[in-house]
Amino acid sequence: MIYFDNSATTRPYKEVVELVSRLMYEEFGNSSSLHNLGIRAERILENARKTLADTIKASPEEIIFTSGGTESVNMAIRGSADVLKRYGKHILTSPVEHSASLETLKALENMGFQVEYLKVDGYGKILLDDLREKLRSDTIFVNIMAVNNELGTIEPITEAAAIIRENSDLTLFHVDAVQAYGKIPINVRSIGADLMSFSAHKIHGPKGVGMLYIKKGTRLNPLITGGGHEHKMRSGTVNVPGIAGFALAASTKIGRMKEDQQNCRKVREKLLDELNRRMNELGMAIRVNSPEDGADNILNVSFKGVKAENILHFLEMHDIYVSSGSACHSRKDAVSHVLKAAKVPNEWAQGAIRFSFSGENTEDEAVVCAEKLAETMRTLGKK
């Protein structure tokens, strides 16, 4: 199997699976229980919180655990809007966000908020001048992702944070760091965002676990109310084994981040070289949609005249797994909003494939993948 879909999800590290499994059975106590079993679970939880806080240079009180990236994003957006609605209704976002953000913002729009979209360049990178221009005194919230999930584009979030701070102390800045975590260094102090969302399963942790960084002093209303867990910010019996697995995955991943990313870069380059060479031989062109200075682990390439989903299924026959930038619905071809925002021409956008790597991929896999892709294009391109 060649798994080049690591931005969709990753295979959990074996040690993570073992830890989660062991804790589920042996440390099943409810971390809120008053007895000894509960206290033991709570200790595991708080250790995990400390480990995870350290990975982003936050303090443990600034970390809230959630059910994943989508919930973190929802909590950041809805929780802030609820608190800040009396100061203003204006929200800024990049248009290349994950749908967790975009759909949530759309819901806010229906509730009377005004959502404005920032201009981006051909790689989906926001234009800082546009941000400066669009910020208003009643802008309560700005939403920008750290790394784009489809293209790998690294957004200038530190610069954006400074601009936002200049404008007003009121504005909360949320960074969706789901794709950035474990891929580029993240230091919440130097970035200066108020809220950042993270997910475990993108870094070889378990699914169903995420966290939200909430800068000290930031006011937020909870999404989920109940027994008052997580400092009343997120009720519900805490998933202690999953969170411990998250902590182990994160410390492992961040420990090997540099080597992993170097490896990804090599695989990425090999794949691109091989694709260029083989497609050239076939007399077919490709279009690289990812920026050269993007995240090392993502490569988005378009093939012309072919539906991405067809390529995907052909590769799947050879046990090679990738993502398509568009889903073929029965009668309309839905091109990804990211490619649209980056103004990738439609005929290219329809054939966009995203390869996303992990530390476990090899250059040999890249060679095989390029070979099978060329084979696929020879079959499909004829039509």
Binding site: K307, E309, N310, H313
Partner: protein, 390 residues
């Protein structure tokens, strides 16, 4: 008091000397469908079927749902069976209504009585009057309303007496297994499951054939068709689904035949393959979800050309229906939500930009000569996977 479900049937009455064949089949189908739920005793008496459960704690709601999907049933009623003695009937009526009022906030009622046993001392109007008065005396909050009552209290006096207040419409049609077998061309769309259901309703058993163009269509599309076959098998159990690998044939057609004819030739190949499968399984006909004029391959000209590829009769129960009428049935039989899932084939690769709407049979036959028909069909049949759906 015994809890029993009364099952009525209509059309079987018309079957003259074959009537008992139909009745026996229906009884068998009822047993097959209900036995997994709880052991049942199914008896027939005076053109009615009575379903009695052998265990006290039976999920009656589920039993009624299951009966609702058995073809040949006109309606069902959960009934209480009591001895045909008027004093007992009066007493049990009170228990029945007391029980009913605990569940429903009914205020008005009327009584309808039928006397099948003419030896019973009271006639029907007398039973109504006596029981109505008895109910009124005992339930102060209830009033009689003969025109628009909240509920009707039915009393059937036969060898025993049956008390009930619900008549739940059934699936109608004829008992599955009384009408032979047909092979349905099942796609992932809205139409073909409905077509299959309509034929099945007439007592016909089904087999289904799905043409899979992997990797041009994803395995999710195949899963969706399996789900559709499962939903259909709730109405006619034991469907076999044949998944035919179709990619190579499509590629060959695409390569060797004129572009505007690829769809119609593809349809002909589907017919040819379905017919081979049908003949092997003992099917007496093919079923498709085609309706006149719906798409290019469903004009009358196209259907003439498609039909020519099969020698078995092709049943098209939707032929005169509008899309909305089909959707209505699809919703009723619970296939609609599955059908509209977006995993349909994404391959514009095999769809002509301007397919011919008035194909000529001669030309189609001529174009087809470019293909090694026997080899292609053999190959597809050899690699066909058969799934027993349940």
């Amino acid at each position: 008091m015994e809890k029993i479900i009364l099952v009525r049937y209509e059309e079987i009455f018309l079957k003259g000397l074959n009537k008992s064949t139909f009745e026996n089949k229906l009884i068998m189908n009822i047993k097959e469908r209900l036995n997994p739920l709880a052991p049942v005793r199914v008896t027939r008496s005076q053109s009615r079927i009575y379903v009695e459960f052998q265990e006290p704690d039976v999920d009656m709601e589920e039993a009624i749902l299951r009966l609702g999907k058995i073809f040949g049933i006109a309606s069902v009623s959960p009934v209480v069976k009591v001895p045909a003695d008027f004093d007992v009937i009066k007493e049990k009526t009170l228990t029945f209504i007391d029980d009913l009022l605990k569940r429903k906030a009914y205020k008005t009622f009327k009584v309808e009585a039928k006397r099948g046993d003419k030896k019973f001392p009271l006639n029907s109007p007398q039973i109504c009057a006596e029981l109505g008065a008895h109910i009124l005396r005992n339930f102060q909050k209830l009033k009689v309303d003969v025109h628009n009552p909240d509920f009707v209290f039915y009393v059937d006096v036969r060898e025993d007496a049956y008390l009930y207040c619900e008549i739940i419409p059934g699936a109608k049609g004829l008992p599955t297994g009384t009408g032979g077998k047909a092979t349905l061309l099942l796609s992932g769309g809205i139409d073909s499951p409905v077509a299959g259901w309509m034929v099945a309703k007439r007592g016909v058993e089904l087999e289904a054939v799905y043409f899979h163009s992997y990797p041009y269509t994803s395995d999710r599309a195949r899963d969706k068709v399996v789900t559709l076959a499962e939903k259909l098998s709730e109405w006619c159990p034991g469907i076999k689904l044949h998944v035919v690998p179709f990619t190579d044939i499509q590629l060959k057609i695409n390569e060797k035949c004129p572009h505007e004819y690829i769809t119609i030739i593809m349809r002909r190949y589907m017919m040819k393959i379905a017919e081979r499968i049908a003949r092997k399984s003992g099917s007496l006909g093919l079923v498709t979800g085609e309706a006149i004029g719906q798409v290019a391959s469903q004009t009358m000209e196209s259907m003439l050309v498609t039909n020519d590829a099969a020698t078995l009769p092709v049943y098209r129960p939707l032929v005169g229906m509008d899309k909305n009428e089909v959707i209505e049935i699809a919703k009723k039989i619970d296939t609609y939500d599955t059908s509209i899932l977006p995993y349909e084939d994404c391959c514009t690769v095999f769809v002509a930009k301007h397919p011919v709407t008035r194909p000529s049979l001669e030309r189609t036959r001529e174009y087809e000569k470019a293909l090694d028909e026997e080899i292609l069909i053999e190959e597809a049949l050899n690699n066909t996977e058969t799934i027993k759906v349940s």
